[in-house]
C-alpha cells in the first residue's frame, strides 16, 4: 500500500532549465511534507518542507508546491545545476501523531534527477 507515490523513476533536465519533481499521496491525514535528496552511498539529506496550512514554500532555488485537494505536491528547482543530480524522495507525516504505530516519515520510491550539461 503506497501512501506516497513518485511515479517518475527518473527525470532528465538540461542545466539551467527548471526541474519539476512530482509526488502524490493517498493518506488524507498527512499534514507535513518533506523533500529529501540522496547521493549514491550517502544517506538522504533534508531539502525543504511544507506544512499543510501553506500551499507554497520557497528556499533559494527550491520551491515546493502543495495542492491539498489533489493530494499532490511538487518540487521545483530553478535553475537546475549539475550538483542537483541525485535521487529525490518525497516524504509525508502526520504532525499530530500520538502513538499507535512505528511512525516516522512515509517515503516515496524516489525520482532520479539527471542534470545534463
Amino acid at each position: 500500500d503506497q501512501q506516497v507515490k513518485q511515479n517518475s523513476p527518473s527525470l532528465s533536465v538540461q542545466e539551467g532549465r527548471i526541474s519539476i519533481l512530482n509526488c502524490d499521496y493517498t493518506n488524507s491525514m498527512f499534514d507535513y511534507f518533506l523533500w529529501y535528496k540522496k547521493y549514491p552511498a550517502e544517506g538522504p539529506t533534508f531539502l525543504i518542507s511544507i506544512s499543510s496550512i501553506k500551499d507554497k514554500n520557497e528556499d533559494g532555488r527550491f520551491t515546493v508546491f502543495l495542492n491539498k485537494s489533489a493530494k499532490h505536491l511538487s518540487l521545483h528547482i530553478v535553475p537546475s545545476q549539475p550538483g542537483d543530480s541525485a535521487v529525490y524522495f518525497c516524504a509525508a507525516s502526520v504532525s499530530s501523531y500520538s502513538g499507535g504505530g512505528a511512525d516516522g516519515l512515509t517515503f516515496g520510491k524516489g525520482t532520479h534527477l539527471i542534470i545534463q550539461p
Binding site: 518533506l34 544517506g43 518542507s49 501523531y97 516516522g104
Partner: protein
Amino acid sequence: DTAVSQTPKYLVTQMGNDKSIKCEQNLGHDTMYWYKQDSKKFLKIMFSYNNKELIINETVPNRFSPKSPDKAHLNLHINSLELGDSAVYFCASSRKLAFGELFFGEGSRLTVL
C-alpha cells in the same frame, strides 16, 4: 563531525548468522529510527525509539531487535539472517517523534549470502 554515524558501512555474511549495526547521533535528538531500503528502493520504517519507548512496525520480523543503551545510540541486532534481509539499513534521528526533519546516517549495506 558526523551528526548520525552508523557502522559498519558494508556487511557481508552467511544465512543463519547473527549481526549488529551500530548507530550514534550527536545532535541531542530525542527520537531515533531505523529504516530499511529494499531492492525496490522503498525507504520503510522499521522502528522508532523515543524517550525509552520503542515502537515497532508490525511488519518487522521479531528476528530484528533494536537496543538503545542511551538516548544517543540505537543499535540494530538481527538474528538468523535470511536472504531477504539483504538491503541498505539507515539510522536516523529527529527532535520530535514523527514530525519534522530527519537526519540520516550514511547507511549500512547488508548482503546475506
